[in-house]
């Protein structure tokens, strides 16, 4: 079923994964797209890319996800990838308060470089490290409410809420897109209108690639 479903879709949504270095962005992505978690993962240099096609609100949606290097200096390269993105997953590490403190700087990054109507979801990752938790759920929750973001806590390692996080943001994007008046294009109108970086094409990108492979 997966194979066939991957080739056809009603919508193509571009989503970016951002947040401080080491918060687990790449593992959230590999958990979502390949159901893999890599204990020995390398730091991301530049940008990585993966897709997954899934059902959202009864429609087939292909999520095209760009995973970015978290270190501040890499924004010179990565911020170009915000453009045309319909959603952003802003990740922090629940065991590292500084990564939560930096969320406001990431929001500013998005305001400066992304489309103004981008859907943003705040994600507190690494909830499996219970004994090391240093950011309270309530604090993040109220921050998210104040900033108008949706919020969820995840563990890429234990595969907790990862599916739900992506489902939620994709549904939100879908709801916004489907409310818009239809333009003349029939497929994925919103994407084409937003323009530049959306490309339609089939994917087999994520088949049988071993975790931690040298590439």
């Amino acid at each position: 079923m997966a194979r066939r479903a991957e080739e056809e879709y009603d919508y193509l949504f571009k989503v970016v994964l951002i947040g401080d270095s080491g918060v687990g962005k790449s593992n959230l992505l590999s958990r979502f797209t390949r159901n893999e978690f890599c204990l020995e993962s390398k730091s991301t240099i530049g940008v990585e890319f993966a897709t997954r096609t899934l059902q959202v609100e009864g429609r087939t949606v292909k999520a095209q996800i760009w995973d970015t290097a978290g270190q501040e200096r890499y924004r010179a390269i990565t911020s170009a990838y915000y453009r045309g993105a319909l959603g952003a997953l802003l990740v922090y590490d629940v065991t590292k308060p500084t990564t939560f403190d930096n969320v406001s700087r990431w929001l500013k990054e998005l305001r400066d470089h992304a489309d103004s109507n981008i859907v943003i979801m705040l994600i507190g990752n690494k909830t499996d490290l219970k004994h090391l938790r240093a950011v309270a759920t309530e604090d993040a929750q109220s921050y998210a409410e104040k900033e108008g973001l949706s919020f969820i806590e995840t563990s890429a390692l234990e595969a907790t809420n990862v599916e739900k996080a992506f489902q939620t943001i994709l549904s939100e994007i879908y709801r916004i897109i489907s409310k818009k008046p239809l333009s003349s294009e029939d497929a994925a109108p919103a994407n084409i209108k937003e323009g530049k970086t959306i490309v339609v094409g089939e994917s087999e990108a994520n088949t049988k690639k071993a975790c931690c492979s040298s590439s």
């Binding site: 270095s21 730091s43 240099i45 530049g46 200096r73 390269i77 994917s203």
Partner: protein, 365 residues
């Protein structure tokens, strides 16, 4: 507390006895072994290799004493031999000779020790965060707080103090890690200095400075080179909205150390240290050329995947490198650099934010 948490994800200090390849990396795929060619070496091959090492020893002299003389007298012989690959047992020494790092080391006694022991760096936590994420599958670096990780930390910290404008940037770890497999901490440190400060070739610190200016320049140059050398593919890339930042940033930022088969990365480094960064462009172009007929057929997503996962046969040094050597880029690179500076000069004069805007537009167009 942050310090304690560097690698909670590590299961334990004892690495499992998984099979290693000849460079010390944990084997990923038992079926494919790029160095399989070397496993069953014939007597002939072994003898040839021994002869090669003897020639090299003669060329270098004891501890490198004859090297400079030899290079001055027969630069073409040296270039040709380096292109064929430096013998692994002499690689560390030769790298230090051709990069100019040996001279730096001799001119600066005690400096490295000072940097490691007495100075503190604002980047320490950033470095620690990435230590276990640098060559995590290599036997030297995988052990938590083991000698590999300690050396890596020391060199990166020392450099971040030595050049506070650069500090520490992700990617430097892979370069340093590769060096540490062939030389001591102090030697690796000075080689990093030689590269970034430009002891022999033009300085590469711009790869890691604020704004990553040299990465941006290299990506622009590479994009134009692709259009010039492989027009059909260049056009296909434009149609599919693929730009080099999607696949080639890592090539430049780590000089292929991040994700390429190690035996190929080493061969590239041999040439890179002697001839300079143009080999990175040549290898990049050679890869695209080798896979050209496949790549022009692929749509966006498959294309991105293919550009990050070249087939094994494309990455055989003995096929790829001769192809790379045959591609001439020096003159065009120089022109493109000027063109880039001219374009960018405009942006630099206007406000910083405008400059950024121009960059991002450049990347996605």
């Amino acid at each position: 507390m942050e310090k304690k948490r560097i690698d909670d994800y590590e299961v334990g200090p004892l690495p499992s006895p998984r099979p290693l390849d000849r460079f010390g990396f944990v084997k990923q795929d038992v079926n494919s072994s790029p160095e399989g060619i070397n496993r069953g070496k014939s007597k002939d091959e072994l003898e040839r290799e021994e002869r090669k090492v003897r020639k090299w020893r003669k060329m270098i002299g004891v501890g490198g004493s004859d090297w400079k003389h030899y290079v001055r007298r027969k630069p073409h012989v040296v270039k040709r031999r380096i292109r064929k690959g430096i013998p692994d047992c002499l690689r560390g020494l030769v790298w230090q000779l051709i990069s100019g790092s040996r001279d730096l080391l001799l001119m600066n006694p005690g400096v490295y020790e000072q940097l490691v022991i007495y100075e503190t760096s604002a980047s320490e936590l950033d470095i620690i965060r990435d230590i276990s994420r640098t060559f995590p599958s290599h036997v030297f670096f995988k052990q938590r707080h083991g000698p590999g990780q300690r050396s890596l930390y020391n060199v990166l910290k020392a450099y971040s103090v030595y050049d506070r404008d650069v500090g520490y940037v992700q990617g430097m770890g892979f370069v340093t890690g590769l060096l540490l497999l062939y030389m001591s901490e102090e030697d690796a440190f000075w080689l990093l200095v030689a590269l970034l400060k430009g002891a022999v070739h033009s300085p590469m610190e711009g790869l890691y400075m604020e704004g990553l200016p040299l990465v941006q320049q290299y990506l622009f140059q590479f994009d134009q080179l692709v259009k010039g050398h492989l027009p059909k593919l260049g056009e296909h890339f434009s149609d599919e909205m693929i730009n080099p930042s999607m696949y080639a940033s890592q090539w430049f930022i780590t000089v292929f150390a991040y994700s390429f088969p190690f035996h190929l990365a080493l061969r590239i480094w041999d040439v890179f240290l002697f001839e300079g960064v143009k080999i990175v462009f040549k290898v990049g172009l050679a890869l695209l050329k080798y896979c050209h007929d496949e790549l022009v057929k692929l749509p966006f997503e498959k294309l991105i995947h293919a550009l990050r996962n070249f087939p094994e046969h494309a990455m055989d040094p003995d096929t790829l490198l001769p192809m790379a050597y045959s591609i001439k880029v020096a003159k065009r690179l120089e022109e493109l650099k000027e063109e880039y500076e001219k374009r960018n000069g405009k942006a630099l004069k206007s406000a910083d934010s405008t400059a950024k805007q121009n960059h991002s537009e450049g990347v996605s167009s």
